[in-house]
Amino acid sequence: MEPNYEALDDDGQLELPAEPMRLNMGPSHPAMHGTIRMVLELDGETVVDVDIQPGYLHRGFEKSCERGTYNQVFPYVDRLNYVSPMLNNVGFALAVEKLCDLKVPERGQWYRMALGELARISDHLTCNSAGAMELGAFTPFLWCIKARDYVWDILEQETGARLTHSFGRVGGMAKPPTEMFKESTLAVLPAVEEAVLEAESLLLKNRIFLDRTQGIGLLSKERAIALGVTGPMLRSTGLDFDVRKATPYLFYKDVDFDVPVGHDGDNYDRFMVRFEELRQSISIIRQVLEKMPTDGPVDCPDLRYVLPSKEAVYNTIEGTIAHFKIVMEGLKPPPGQVYSYTEGGNGELGFYVVSDGSGTPYRVRVRPPCFHNLQAAREMLVGDMIADIVPTFGSVNMIGGECDR
């Protein structure tokens, strides 16, 4: 309610209204990552109620997918969770491959795992360091982003792009690993570990950081399950659900890693779960690089779905026809529908794809982890102070591109 200026008393004193104040936060607020609007009901500085309104970043992603070929969807999925595009690329590729019953060669699968985990590192580094920065800790932010840049250097070296790679393909990847992939990745990982360690050393003994994260933004295990929360947010409540462990895809069953869990589901737990997952990712990458064959195909050799090599296109009629069919008409999965799900940066990233047998998807539906995670944000914010919105919302790690699609 607006203060009533006309009813100023003789002293010029402003009466504070007794009723809750309604305050608009976002969509153009620096802490409302990726344009979210929150309509707050405040009693003093306490959040009584909050209406969270997503949709400001809606791009019509799902509808856009219905007009191109399957491989033309990859640039769109890059822009879902744009902090970890490679995970989305791999997720969508796996969905279409499930539809086509394609099996990607071993080397390609290991490569996908390595790139995916690099993307996860980039995702968690961004989330945690930005969260710390929003609480005033600028140094850990700079250190972590420096480490993220190293990771992006590798992704750039492999894919040609730092952020929107568009690197996945149905049946494989756009290119095989570069010669220096293993070497450069192994060189970067210690730098990431060091950055995480340094960031932690600055934060975990910091009174301000602890006060503003511990016991703030609480989410119970039961409510998390009821609201469909997945990923680090669910694990912070103490449940060890991780798609990579629960229903292993690629070669996740062949690598050794732990699923970190929290206790209370507060901001601190989410922060710690992400940093620990980051270390697990580093460990996964080391195992992957050890097991990944240095030679062999990355792409599935099925010419119905995967573009032949340029040499074959220029020299054989079969290659030319395959190229023509895939480029002009698109690969054609058999009619049917699949739901395929992977562990994205924020939790279960699902793709529901319907094929009518043509070269264009009939329907692509995304289950974005953020959208479900965002549902829980209201319960986490109500009862806390207005200043707690920033770290709590930050730890939800809502990514607009994915949430609104």
């Binding site: 099925d302 010419l303 119905r304 032949p308 074959a312 220029y314 020299n315 054989t316 009629i317 079969e318 290659g319 030319t320 026809i321 395959a322 023509f324 069919k325 002009m328 008409e329 054609k332």
Partner: protein
């Protein structure tokens, strides 16, 4: 109807049907190159091989790879039979998707591509090529041969209209059979064997009969290409509209293939209709699409004191209304080149609203325009809608434009509203038309527009939907393909505009209104989109 089983599905058939034809009638395609529903059976491509269940199967001894023993072992496989040649029988069980059949199709496909050149990027057939489609559907692997392919003649001129590429040819002999069976002209044949096999012309001949472009149409691959369409457009950019040929009174069903980006018609091809043209079209018909874009009337023309001025369409419509305003003895000229809808509205405006008492018909004279009919498809009359225009007028026969000239000389007529460019007589014969105000609604320059005081451009059959009545009295519809250039409208819409300026209300705004007001003609008998119920393969009409 007796039935047989194809992959577990009951397929009805008529006596004498082959497996492939019975399946085709049901809309099921058994892959094939050489078989064509309108031609005799050659059974030479071997793509349609199927497995037929038998109490005494004929088993062929083969060596099959055994994965456990890591060696070839002796085994048998059922002998496959060509679906295009085997007649159906009651209770027959046919498998077109069994393991052996799939292997055979893949092997045939591999053979056909063995010496095929890497031509897709420069081949006009790409995008509608059976080799491409069947490779995706039935082979999907690379060939095992690694040696240089056999080279054969490329770009051989087969006459004025067709170019032959022997390397792309799969020797299905469809073109040979088409010339023999439909045209009755054995101009094509085959020479050599195996790898060196190629199609050749009869000595001293060229592929110059009136159905040469059809050989390109029946060619399942890019071996025969039409010089008219070569390198002009890529087929995947084209869209199709069902239409009816303008060339003669046969009214062959066609598809108008047009490029929506440039709103340009690129080719015509036959649309199957057993009652009219079966699967065929003549060359003149297939090339008649050039008319849609060549030598068109795009602006209005107004003649005053002997000089012709080009004006915009709106001014032309206004000038047309002015020319007809004070007429007391109007004559209407219908057109055998225009649709029933155009003729109907022009007649309604002229006769019912402006009080015309004389109705004539403008039509091309086949002899003067060098047209010759034949026994196959080409009708002796090269006007597509003489029957329709006559029916619309409600008389047994309409008088020609020569009679109009006479009537003008006799002073019976003080103004003319004419439709179309066509007139059977020359401008000299019709010179009397100069004496009276004359409004011509025309698509092209011609005798009538030449003699008109006011010419208003109108849309062709590619630019407006409508119906024709062919020589057999069948009403057939065509759909608009491209947009008319420069705001030009159909003749019926233009006629309504003129009538509106003259203060008449026709209460017809859209095509359905016109059709509702039109006298009932035979129901449109356009070809169904599903495979038509095939009759005897003879294409004669």
């Amino acid at each position: 109807m007796p039935t047989f089983k194809l992959d577990g599905q009951d397929i009805p058939f008529e006596a004498g049907d082959t497996i492939i034809r019975a399946a085709w009638k049901q809309g099921i395609e058994i892959p094939h190159y050489c078989w064509h529903p309108g031609l005799s059976i050659a059974a030479n491509c071997r793509m349609c091989l199927v497995e037929i269940k038998s109490a005494r199967p004929m088993l062929l001894p083969i060596l099959a790879w055994d994965d456990k023993k890591k060696d070839y072992v002796e085994a048998t496989k059922p002998k496959l039979q060509p679906a295009c040649q085997i007649e159906t029988a009651e209770g027959m069980e046919v498998f077109s998707k069994s393991k052996q059949v799939i292997e055979a199709q893949s092997a045939v496909q591999e053979f056909l591509l063995l010496n095929h050149p890497v031509d897709c990027p420069i081949c006009d057939q790409a995008g509608e090529c059976k080799l491409q489609d069947y490779w995706l559907a039935h082979q999907t692997t690379s060939k095992r041969k690694e040696t240089e392919p056999v080279h054969k003649p490329k770009g051989v001129r087969f006459g004025e209209k067709i170019v032959y590429d022997a390397e792309r040819c799969v020797m299905c002999t469809r073109c040979i059979r088409f010339c023999d069976e439909v045209v009755g002209d054995h101009v094509l044949d085959m020479r050599e064997r195996g790898n060196k096999n190629e199609i050749c012309l009869s000595p001293g001949r060229e592929l110059d009969h009136d159905y040469a472009l059809m050989t390109e149409h029946v060619c399942p691959v890019g071996a025969l290409t039409s010089r008219d369409f070569r390198f002009k457009a890529r087929v995947w950019f084209l869209k199709s509209a069902p239409s009816v040929c303008n060339g003669c009174a046969t009214g062959c069903n066609t598809y108008v293939d047009y490029d929506p980006r440039y709103q340009r018609v690129e080719r015509l091809r036959p649309r199957d209709n057993p009652a009219v043209n079966a699967f065929w079209m003549c060359d003149d018909g297939m090339l008649s699409y050039h008319r849609f874009h060549q030598d068109r009337l795009l602006t209005g023309r107004v003649k005053s004191e002997g000089a012709v001025a080009e004006v915009g369409r709106t001014e032309a419509v206004q000038a047309a209304a002015d020319a007809l305003k004070s007429s007391k003895k109007l004559a209407v000229v219908l057109s055998a080149q225009h649709s029933n809808e155009d003729n109907f509205v022009v007649l309604k405006v002229g006769r019912d609203l402006l009080g015309a008492r004389h109705v004539f018909l403008g039509a091309l004279d086949p002899v003067a325009s060098g047209w010759k009919g034949d026994e196959i498809l080409k009708n002796a009359d090269n006007n597509p809608n003489r029957a329709g225009a006559t029916k619309i007028a409600g008389v047994a026969k309409l008088e020609s434009t020569a009679a109009l000239a006479k009537a003008i000389d006799a002073g019976e007529i003080d103004a003319v509203l004419s439709l179309g460019f066509a007139a059977a007589e020359s401008a000299e014969v019709l010179a009397s038309l100069n004496k009276v105000p004359h409004v011509s609604l025309s698509t092209h320059p011609g005798v009538l527009p030449l003699l008109a005081t006011v010419v208003v451009p109108v849309a062709t059959t590619a630019e407006a939907s409508g119906t024709f009545v062919n020589a057999k009295g069948m009403t057939q519809g065509f759909q608009r393909a491209v947009l008319a250039p420069g705001g030009i409208k159909a003749a019926w819409e233009t006629a309504i505009e003129i009538a509106t300026i003259l203060g008449h209300d026709l209460s017809m705004k859209k095509l359905p209104d016109v059709r509702a007001a039109m006298p009932a003609l035979a129901a449109p008998a356009t070809a169904p989109s599903a495979p038509p119920a095939p009759s005897a393969p003879a294409a004669g009409t």
